[in-house]
């Protein structure tokens, strides 16, 4: 496939029992995009993420990432190759402090986890503190991550995804559970990452203000299949999308 694409997905299919969760999805992204995938609950958005990150194995189809065929790679290899994700339901280290959470991910990125004899405490201080500040978790660094409120957990989730310096970042409902202001802050950060560091970003959201406020391209999934793809205004105007997802304006 064309080397212009950072991610190229071809004819991806996945069925769970009788349920076709993903059917014949073909999708590609160029480096530097900031795009969103939307669709009703159960449309298959998370499944799509699961398929490209190696969490599920597709029944059919191919996933190319940075030119390599990663379809059958295990998830850790894909992550290491530069694709990172934040989960819909926050997926953090609940029994470690927020600081240790982030440091762990950074140590992985620095390939220092095989080090048996140096004190972790002395490593990656600067990077960790920086990332905590950037994601607005600075004041929580000492807290046990599991006892933070939902919104803070989501932010930590994002920090973990960022820590490994991905080329492609997949965010599954990154602002769910956040207040309006926090949502805004978080999305600003995401936009900045995209703008300043050139990270390619793909996210899902049900909050339309977020979707239309930040995504520069919009793709709609419905019952596992792509039904629309294009600039936000065009997609918003699409009748089918109106019918299955948006309803009239909320």
């Amino acid at each position: 496939m064309n080397g212009d694409y950072i991610l190229a997905v071809e004819g991806l299919c996945k069925a769970f029992g009788g349920l076709q969760a993903t059917s014949e999805v073909t999708y590609s992204m160029r480096p530097g995009e900031l795009s969103a995938i939307i669709g009703p609950n159960g449309a298959g958005k998370s499944t799509f993420f699961n398929l490209i990150t190696g969490f599920h194995r597709p029944d059919k189809g191919k996933v190319l990432f940075k030119g390599a065929d990663v379809t059958s790679w295990s998830s850790y290899r894909i992550a290491r190759f530069g694709m990172s994700r934040a989960f819909q339901v926050s997926n953090i280290y609940p029994m470690l402090t927020t600081y240790q959470n982030v440091r762990q991910a950074i140590l992985v990125q620095q390939r220092r986890t095989m080090d048996l004899f140096r004190r972790a405490e002395h490593l990656a201080r600067k990077e960790t503190t920086e990332l905590l500040e950037v994601t607005g978790l600075g004041e929580h660094h000492q807290e046990m991550a599991g006892t933070m409120s939902q919104g803070d957990k989501k932010r930590l989730e994002l920090a973990l995804a960022l820590a490994i310096k991905p080329d492609l970042l997949l965010l599954d409902e990154p602002t769910a559970g956040m207040s309006v202001e926090e949502t805004h802050e978080t999305m600003e950060l995401v936009a900045r990452l995209n703008r300043e560091m050139g990270v390619t970003i793909l996210f899902t959201e049900h909050d339309m203000s977020v979707v239309f406020g930040y995504a520069r391209r919009l793709t709609v999934l419905h019952q596992g299949a792509l039904i629309a793809d294009g600039a936000p205004q065009d997609v918003r105007a699409d009748e089918e999308v109106q019918r299955v997802y948006l309803g009239e304006e909320v």
Binding site: L107, R118, H122, T128
Partner: protein, 320 residues
């Protein structure tokens, strides 16, 4: 921060150095036992406390270590030192093979698979009369003359155990150690930040088994004989018990547990024939009223504790 901790460690070590000079031979032997079992328990806690999996077959590696040293010394006349090294290697090798399967599982399944493998090792040792002596065990494992006395073997064990525990402590504080905690906490997340978790778990499993093997190796010359019971599931329960009594969360928990358990066994069995009842009640009390073990208690009330690790006070300076 770490200052207090070092003071404490120093004090304990000094006590361990001096204590035997005032104790009778029996208690020196008990102390030696505490050291060896403590090493065994700490190695167990590398899997349990830091990787979050309950190994119920840890005695297998202890037993393999004990038999390696025993057989090498008795049948091949190898000196103690190289035999101990061989114990670590042998236990590690066995763990590499068995661990390959075990680390694919978690929770109760991990516990039972490790137990099943442990029982297999037990049966092999138990049945292989021509080589291991079967359930008669192996006798005549004598330390070199220099270490034959209770006191000298104690100091030898102290040296070996301290070194081994120190190494494990360093590992537990290293990025690798924290990776283990991360795996315990959320294995999926760890995979998604790009770690081959199986590889790490296997390495940890093998390292833990090696130290268990070392503990086993120390046991034979201490006890003068070994038997297959050393790797039976009852024996696998011992480090579990020690760790939970002592507290799995802290590094020293299993050591405290070893002190308590060994002392209890030496003491309670001396004064009542109903020691199972007594020990059973004590365990029950600990589980019910002392969650987190003794170390948990210390953490809650004690001042001896290092503060939970946070970011450095000066993020810029300090680190090389």
């Amino acid at each position: 921060m770490g200052k207090k901790k070092w003071t404490w460690a120093g004090a304990v070590f000094a006590a361990l150095l001096l204590l035997p000079t005032v104790l009778g031979e029996f208690w020196v032997l008990v102390l030696t036992e505490i050291l060896i079992m403590g090493l065994f328990a700490v190695s167990f806690n590398m899997i349990f406390g830091y990787m979050g999996q309950l190994s119920f077959g840890h005695a297998a590696y202890y037993g393999v270590g004990a038999y390696t040293t025993g057989l090498l010394m008795v049948k091949f006349g190898l000196p103690l030192g190289p035999s101990l090294l061989a114990s670590m290697v042998m236990a590690g090798a066995v763990a590499l093979v068995l661990g390959y399967f075990c680390i694919r599982l978690t929770g109760i399944y991990f516990a039972i698979l490790t137990m099943a493998f442990g029982q297999l090792i037990f049966y092999i040792i138990f049945q292989w009369y021509s080589f291991t002596g079967g359930d008669n065990g192996l006798q005549g494992i004598k330390p070199p003359p220099m270490l034959e006395g209770a006191w000298s073997y104690y100091y030898f064990a102290l040296l070996v155990v301290t070194a081994a525990v120190a190494v494990m402590w360093v590992i537990s504080e290293s990025p690798f150690g924290y990776t283990m905690r991360a795996i315990r906490d959320n294995i999926q997340r760890t995979r998604f930040v790009g770690l081959n978790t199986k590889k790490y778990m296997l390495i940890n499993f093998v390292v833990a088994a090696m130290f268990a093997g070392l503990a086993g190796g120390l046991w034979g010359p201490f006890n003068r004989s070994i038997s297959p019971d050393l790797c039976n599931w009852h024996q696998s329960g011992v480090p579990v018990f020690m760790t939970i009594i002592g507290g799995p969360a802290g590094f020293v928990g299993p050591l405290i547990g070893s002190v308590i358990y060994t002392f209890l066994m030496a003491f309670v069995t001396g004064f009542t024939e109903y020691w199972p009842l007594t020990i059973g009640i004590i365990i029950t009390m600990v589980v019910l009223f002392l969650p987190g073990g003794v170390w948990g208690l210390v953490e809650r009330y004690g001042a001896a504790l290092p503060a939970r690790e946070g970011p450095p006070d000066d993020p810029e300076g300090g680190t090389p």
